[in-house]
Symmetry: C2
Subunit: 433 residues, 2 copies
Amino acid sequence: MIVGLDARDIRFPTSRHMHGSDAMNPDPDYSCAYVTLEMSAGEQSGNGLTFTIGRGNDLCVAAIEGLGSHLIGRSLDEFEEDLGLVSRLLLNDSQYRWLGPEKGVVHLAAAALINAVWDALAKRAGKPLWRYVSDMSPERMVSAIDFRHIADYLPREEALERLTAQQSGKAARIETLMQDGYPAYTTSAGWIGYTDEEIVRRLKAAYAEGWRHFKIKVGGDLQGDLARCKLFRDTLGSDVRLSVDANQVWNVAEAVKAIKAMAPYDIYWVEEPTSPDDVLGHKAIADQVSPILLATGEHAHNRVMFKQFLQAQAIGFCQIDACRLAGVNEVIAVMMMADKAGIPVCPHAGGVGLCEYVQHLSMIDYVCISGTMEGRVIEHAAHLHQHFRNPIEIREGRYIAPTAPGYSVDLWPQSIADHEFPQGKEWAKEMAS
Amino acid sequence: MIVGLDARDIRFPTSRHMHGSDAMNPDPDYSCAYVTLEMSAGEQSGNGLTFTIGRGNDLCVAAIEGLGSHLIGRSLDEFEEDLGLVSRLLLNDSQYRWLGPEKGVVHLAAAALINAVWDALAKRAGKPLWRYVSDMSPERMVSAIDFRHIADYLPREEALERLTAQQSGKAARIETLMQDGYPAYTTSAGWIGYTDEEIVRRLKAAYAEGWRHFKIKVGGDLQGDLARCKLFRDTLGSDVRLSVDANQVWNVAEAVKAIKAMAPYDIYWVEEPTSPDDVLGHKAIADQVSPILLATGEHAHNRVMFKQFLQAQAIGFCQIDACRLAGVNEVIAVMMMADKAGIPVCPHAGGVGLCEYVQHLSMIDYVCISGTMEGRVIEHAAHLHQHFRNPIEIREGRYIAPTAPGYSVDLWPQSIADHEFPQGKEWAKEMAS
């Protein structure tokens, strides 16, 4: 039984070196609100986190503590028996719901808690999360989904049919994953705060490691953005993939102008060209820059937003986030809608623990939902993995399928102690300097 | 100069009597995060609040305290000189912004702070807020608007032209407002937790007071909803207006079915038929239930959402909220887009202080933006006004134009002391019982 929660404010002073800097977020301190389920003696616990970039991480911790009261007194058996329960308990508290609904701090907090429960369930089953879900029947997977407000696009019966149709090849796909892993791209070379020299050095190093798909940050002044694209092609040539990420800074007209100017550099996708709330704006941009495709999702806050991006065919790539959406339950709903729309799922990662999380989600998409890796790729950023007990493993630009039980976001106790804000050792150092 | 902030968690135990109950929110405790700007000696202060329905109000208080640090050390002169400054300072903190962006707890907190600054500016000018804004030049009003992500629909130049075109009749419209006030409708008779007898009693009493436009809550089982509509028409006949509010509970198909079934009861608008994030869903419903019109907005979290509802003509009434949107600045942007779309602004009110707030906004819409009250109406709910120093005044179903300087949300000190959560007297009583 869940008898309590331990929620911590963990922050890493990444802004010191401009890791993670982009046009909208010049100085992020990659952070997470980290929660551990406190269980009755001898029972399996679970950990979950939600990612933020610094100030306000405390709000997520407080929301986890408040909202988490709905889990106290519940047993893992209850959650195992009814996979939708955890999501219903946390998203339907009407007073907390008012603060969203289903968005912002409260939704981020719900994600940490929901993921912690899935982590505990997978650990208890002795399986990595992707495998725990892959081994479920279609009926069980569907029972995790809340169809409210998406049934007009994906009715329950159709979801069940789609999963059932993918049953046959599952064993072979699991085999493939275990052998070959899952394709990835890297963001680590092109943060906006890096100098040209730094970018060239990082691009070459990444190429040598086996990376063939890169993303760089744009959205500064247009001449600078074009120079950065040129630098990329001058350094690595035309045989590698280049995606760009504008982090929401453009209006519709600005986006169209900038994307057309970048077209000669052969752009695989343009990410977050404008407000993440603007379905119609994305659609307007997409229509004008075709055949270049748009990608968005790291700030698309729930299944209803993704439903619309997909219905409108406003995006060419669906970038789910493991904790912007309300955990595994809502991610499954979105991946199923993306499959219906024929749009590849390419998760947002980086930050703290997002790579650890989303590898499982892409693998679930491959084994259970879309049945293909075609056009799909998981984001990779190289920092902070050393703080996790079971960090991601990358080989030749691919994620190796995780084998440790759970959802892979257990932090080392020392990392927690050192980075707890504001009392941890690293922050004491930071404040002294 | 702003030297500090005093933020309080104020809650009223309204769930005791089912005031405010609806299909999504069965037991709200109407609450607000209330902020007072602490000023240098002798300078004008200001108050702002953001409305919630109970649990999580503490998160808004914490967000006000964190985000509010951007106001410390700033003077009212700076905000007066650059009306967009307060909004830029509070919405562009990239670390806090990550938690939305521009939605949820952080946006609600920003609203309280932004409104507090406008309250201080209006008080210093010795004018009620609506008059303070009405007396501005079009150039100054436009300077309050952040055009990012809405310029594709409303460019700055067009906003300026539209306001300039309304300059001529302003004095006469101010005169009209002072004499006749602004039309309203009442929600106080039809909360979902009320018995039929209670509803009939309240409808008759409200009719006797001069009300001719009513809203009742629906979204329970359909037969019950239809019975409630019939009860309304049986009680008050066909010469009064009836709107219904489903508070988001339906899927698209459910909404269409329910609304068609209610059509014989002559429904003026159907409010929140589905998820407030679902622009395309509203559009699909609107197309199928025409000529019945939809209304939404109390959970539409920013100007980008409203832009889309208006672009798509998915709504027939635009229900701005004074503190779901980021304060006066963002509300002006939305009211200007609604005017361009030809959609009447009918603000969401009730709760704590929302009636006090939005009367000013509808009056600004009338004097400066739309120039008409045609088809427009301010929501009214009868409770909690006694806690405000300058409560709304209603006569014959109309809001009387407020004359006290400021934005009308100053709470009485005793009301603050009694209802502060959890230590106030009223909560001590509540917890003892």
